[in-house]
């Protein structure tokens, strides 16, 4: 499922690693850094990702909830991270048009693919939750999210029994790069009661900086799983043929697919 070769730093970092040897750092340290670049060692390290997922699935039930906080715990501003203002023409047109003809495309392994407007999503039973957002870097921020429960939305399109993952295709070219952000979660996380397609932040409309018009909330995962600027949900049985094949933008750049820790 994972291509271990992709656990590689960008070229600039690679040059830095090469340079480390020249620096004459201690033999052990250089050994560890060359191990970090070794394919077989990366495969072995990658196995710990699946071990962690299996162990965490064992101790957490499908329904076990992320902690919800009170109004007074809400941070003054929800820190925006990654893309904060997508610059491509298509997205800018949606912003200018106030997302009036924006539609969420849901397709793939679904019996009744659909195109939903924000109003369609708002017409569904809403859930509001005050939860903590945890970035892989280490910081946390508490905010109030309102949205449609992803499980309800999926039920509308009736996934086939072959569907194993929901892939979130986004509008933003992160860091102005050539590819669009994307993410994926499995059906257990997708049908978790706190997993939302959020259109509201702190009793307001979801701002552009935080992913307008729609972003994912998967409260038992780290922040990079929670795709912003969601344009399309694709139900798949494998994400091997999507972009780098690792199930997400950051996963294609070496981060774990299982972001529960």
């Amino acid at each position: 499922m994972r291509d271990a070769k992709l656990i590689l730093p960008d070229p600039k970092r690679r040059r830095l690693i090469t340079g480390l040897g020249a620096l004459g750092a201690s033999a052990a340290l250089t050994g560890c850094d060359s191990l970090s670049r070794n394919d077989r060692f990366q495969t072995w390290l990658g196995a710990t990702d699946r071990l962690t997922r299996a162990a965490q699935r064992l101790v957490s039930s499908r329904e076990s909830l992320a902690r919800e906080f009170s109004e007074r715990d809400i941070a003054p501003t929800m820190r925006a991270n990654g893309s904060t203002n997508p610059s491509n023409a298509n997205y800018k047109r949606h912003v200018a048009n106030d997302f009036a003809d924006w539609r969420l495309r849901i397709d793939g392994l679904a019996r009744e693919p659909a195109d939903l407007s924000i109003d369609d999503l708002k017409a569904m039973p809403a859930r509001t939750q005050i939860t903590r957002h945890d970035c892989v870097e280490g910081w946390s921020c508490i905010a109030k999210w309102t949205g449609a429960v992803l499980g309800d939305v999926l039920d509308r399109v009736r996934p086939t029994s072959a569907a194993r993952f929901v892939v979130f295709h986004c509008a933003d070219n992160i860091y102005g790069g050539p590819v669009k952000y994307y993410e994926s979660i499995d059906m257990v996380e997708a049908y978790h009661p706190q997993t939302l397609l959020a259109y509201g932040l702190n009793d307001d409309r979801l701002p552009v900086a935080n992913g307008a018009p729609l972003r994912l909330r998967a409260e038992r995962q780290l922040g990079y799983k929670m795709a912003k600027y969601v344009m399309r949900l694709e139900l798949v049985d494998s994400f091997a043929t999507i972009q780098g094949g690792n199930g997400g933008y950051w996963e294609d750049r070496g981060y774990e697919w299982w972001a529960g820790i």
Partner: protein
């Protein structure tokens, strides 16, 4: 010069655990510093109060316009240029909290730091659990690690004795040694695992009591950092004591298990430290 007989001090499990543990802890520390570098600030509570961190390691422009590395803690600003906040990497000054010689991998590379950290944690955690269970179950181990009544009473004298860098070489650990190992084995090491797990969003859902015990995810992250450096302090003291209290004897006991008893600093009849 040293007479006294050889006794079997450390069992095979203890010896293997000790050295595997050393490797794990070094990897965990260095990859942990790599992970810390991705967001080099610490907070207290559930979330991050970005404008008021409890501790921050960063780089700023000094009064002369030159960049300097600083540590901000409790309202103080400490110049740490060259080591923390700003250090040399490939001969060039680089803004990073911990320097490249202290992190694994050396360059800033969070994804790989996390892989190293969790791989080592998967070896460290289950082995720790097994070793603690073994220590609780085995009567020999229990006797070896739990101070006797006499040792509890003699504790102040033992501390004074150690402060003068005098060491006995008995078959048994003295009370101070036992207390230290108890604190590390059943205190610091499990706390490292638990504060680590408290940072995991899935574990927060599975075991919400973790958040209550440690006062929130960011408190747990800060405690994880403090306990890690408490372990570094233990490591340094442990190393110094091993070196000055008979390095060959100590090393042999942790490799082959055999330890030579009989003291060259205190007569055998002297039982002050029980």
């Amino acid at each position: 010069m040293r007479r006294g007989r050889l006794v079997r001090r450390h069992g095979l499990f203890t010896r293997v655990w000790h050295w595997v543990n050393l490797a794990c802890l070094v990897i965990l520390l260095m990859s942990g510093l790599q992970i810390f570098n991705a967001h080099p600030s610490l907070y207290w509570g559930n979330d991050s109060t970005f404008d008021a961190p409890a501790l921050q390691i960063t780089a700023v422009r000094g009064d002369d316009g030159a960049p300097m590395g600083i540590v901000r803690i409790a309202g103080y600003r400490i110049d740490t240029t060259g080591v923390l906040g700003l250090s040399r990497h490939n001969g060039e000054l680089d803004q990073r909290a911990f320097p490249s010689w202290a992190t694994l991998p050396g360059p800033q590379w969070l994804a790989m730091g996390r892989y190293w950290h969790f791989a080592a944690a998967w070896i460290f955690g289950p082995l720790l659990l097994a070793y603690l269970a073994y220590t609780l179950i085995s009567p020999t181990r229990r006797r070896l690690i739990w101070p006797t009544a006499a040792q509890w009473r003699a504790l102040p004298a033992t501390i004074a004795h150690h402060a003068r860098l005098k060491f006995d070489h008995g078959a048994d650990y003295n009370g101070l040694q036992k207390l230290t190992y108890l604190l590390v084995l059943f205190g610091l090491l499990p706390l490292m695992v638990l504060t680590g797990l408290t940072m995991s969003p899935t574990m927060n859902a599975a075991w919400p009591w973790l958040l209550d015990v440690f006062g929130g995810r960011q408190s747990a992250r800060t405690l994880h950092f403090i306990f890690a450096f408490a372990l570094v302090a233990f490591f340094v003291i442990h190393l110094v004591l091993v070196l000055i209290s008979g390095v060959r004897n100590n090393l042999r006991s942790m490799i082959t298990g055999r330890y030579r008893i009989g003291s060259d600093t205190a007569p055998a009849k002297d039982n002050r430290h029980a």
